[in-house]
């Protein structure tokens, strides 16, 4: 589903972020991306949804090298990738329903399906009761649920979550991760960048560890830190 081949990334100011990464994430897989701040987790995610272009190497999403996409093809790539952020990025002047429906509207989805799909997504994340609330009126956990609903409303095969629990308390974080697992079980590939040790340890999923722009560990059923046996 997602494949990185010899990917390096440096910014125009000369800062090198990623060095010669090779990575393969299969269809419907659930993986954690861990590592200290500045390790390159966010940049790696941005390469996948083409907010950044690698300096060298290939980023293949669903058999397409997204690094070579023309600008006008990028919107169509993004319709296949849902993105969840630490800071939610909800539109403050729109209700919960409008925020989620917006993702469908701007892709030109037919009117008839917008309501149905929006309600389905909101039902999945358990936010049907709050459809008329504005983001300001929601708790952090609720905002993140809306953000996830927006990311999956289009039924994308891939969901990227960048520090989805960064602003949440442990209980809520756990709920959000369970939700992401639920999304994964709906045949969606999920990649979660996180600092949250307890969740990574508890979930026992694949763990990819980045440090200084290099993959230093890629372990199935892993934990946040290498376990000394």
């Amino acid at each position: 589903m997602i494949e990185l081949i010899n990917v390096s990334k440096s910014y125009p100011n000369g800062i090198e972020v990623l060095f010669n990464l090779n990575l393969h994430i299969g269809k419907e897989e659930f993986a954690f991306l861990v590592g200290p701040s500045g390790a390159g987790k966010t940049t790696l995610m941005k390469l996948i949804y083409r907010e950044e272009i690698p300096t060298s190497g290939k980023v293949i999403v669903d058999r397409v090298n997204v690094a070579e996409l023309d600008a006008h093809q990028v919107p169509f790539l993004r319709r296949n990738i849902g993105v969840v952020f630490q800071d939610f990025k909800l539109l403050p002047r729109r209700t919960v329903y409008e925020n989620v429906a917006f993702a469908l509207r701007v892709t030109g989805a037919p009117r008839s399906s917008i309501r149905r799909k929006t309600m389905q997504a909101l039902e999945l994340v358990g936010m049907l009761k709050r459809i008329n609330s504005f983001p300001d009126e929601l708790s952090g956990g609720e905002k993140q649920r809306v953000c996830i609903a927006r990311a999956i409303v289009n039924n994308p095969p891939i969901l990227l979550a960048d520090e989805p629990t960064g602003n949440l308390d442990p209980t809520t974080s756990w709920e959000i991760l369970q939700l992401l697992e639920k999304v994964n079980k709906r045949n969606t590939t999920v990649l979660v960048a996180t600092h949250n040790k307890s969740i990574v340890d508890e979930m026992k999923k694949r763990v990819i560890e980045l440090e200084n722009g290099r993959i230093i560990r890629d372990q199935q059923l892993g934990t946040y830190h290498v376990q000394s046996s």
């Binding site: 949804y49 083409r50 907010e51 950044e52 272009i53 600008a71 006008h72 990028v74 919107p75 169509f76 790539l77 993004r78 319709r79 993105v83 990025k89 539109l91 002047r93 917006f102 993702a103 509207r105 701007v106 892709t107 030109g108 927006r150 289009n154």
Partner: protein
């Protein structure tokens, strides 16, 4: 694309309403810029009209102190009218001239009529086809034996014409500069409204909206702001111009102000269209710039 028109319209109206203050600032800026532009346009047109009207006086006057009979005067009138370039010759006898003079100034002047008699000459008012012909026609007339003197305001007219041409040229240059300044102001104002919604644009792009889809609501918004600004500016210009030109024509009746409704209508329509065009172009430039910066990030 038309199936999405409703969405674009709703989005445009919604953001106009939700960022009401910003919209008002943008519309007021457009109104002020367009009004200043319109005032300048009206001033230039009127100044040109005034100078044009004054310099289009194509008269010259030929005087004689000979004692002319009516027949002599008639013959002379025919003779003058045959000079090339002459359009019309009007004869004012010395008696008529004196009568008119007394009518105009009689109450103000104390003249001893018996002592001085009628000091005025016979006058021929000659109209020529174009002002350039004045010196030549004047020369020919002055060569006629009976004519004592020919007068025309040749030098003044030439100066006026030079002035008129300068005004026209300067006017065009200034109008272009003004238009450019107005354009920059409007574009930058609309850019502020676009920048205030950078997050919206970012999210739209993130969930897979095409550039065209992102642009449309902003273009409609720019169009609506432009139309609102243009019409407000038109109303301000029209009512002020009507009021001012009415007062001026009462106070200075000889001042030939532009009252050609068709020309005025063209100017007003120009202002409305400039507003509309600036709104759309301003929005296009602004949103393209934000989108470009998003692309550069990619």
């Amino acid at each position: 694309m038309f199936s999405h028109l409703e969405f674009f319209l709703v989005e445009a109206l919604r953001s106009l309403r939700r960022s009401f203050l910003m919209t008002m600032v943008a519309v007021i800026t457009i109104v002020v810029s367009l009004t200043v532009f319109g005032i300048f346009l009206l001033l230039t047109v009127n100044l040109g009209h005034i100078v044009g009207t004054i310099s289009s006086h194509l008269d010259l006057a030929a005087y004689t102190n000979y004692d002319l009979s009516l027949e002599d005067a008639g013959a002379l009138q025919v003779k003058i009218s045959k000079i090339p370039g002459v359009v019309k010759v009007e004869y004012i006898s010395k008696d008529e001239a004196w009568k008119k003079f007394k009518e105009d100034f009689g109450t103000k002047l104390v003249l001893d009529e018996a002592a001085s008699g009628n000091p005025l000459p016979h006058t021929f008012i000659v109209q020529v086809r174009s002002p350039e012909l004045l010196p030549e026609v004047a020369k020919e007339i002055s060569q006629l034996e009976i004519i004592d003197e020919v007068r025309y305001s040749g030098k003044l007219i030439q100066q006026m014409r030079t002035f008129l041409n300068a005004i026209r040229l300067g006017g065009i240059v200034l109008i272009i500069l003004f238009f450019f300044a107005t354009f920059l102001i409007v574009v930058n104002t609309i850019r502020l409204t676009v920048l205030s919604r950078e997050t919206d644009i970012y999210i739209m792009k993130l969930v897979g909206a095409t550039d065209a889809f992102v642009k449309w609501p902003f273009l409609i918004e720019g169009l609506l702001m432009g139309i609102m600004g243009g019409i407000s500016s038109f109303l301000i210009l029209k009512f002020s111009y009507d009021a001012i030109s009415m007062r001026l024509s009462q106070a200075l009746p000889f001042l030939p102000l532009v009252s050609d409704q068709k020309l005025l209508l063209e100017i007003y329509l120009g202002v409305i269209m400039a507003g509309t065009g600036l709104g759309i172009v301003g929005a296009y430039f602004s949103v393209s710039r934000v989108l470009k910066s998003e692309v550069q990030k990619c």
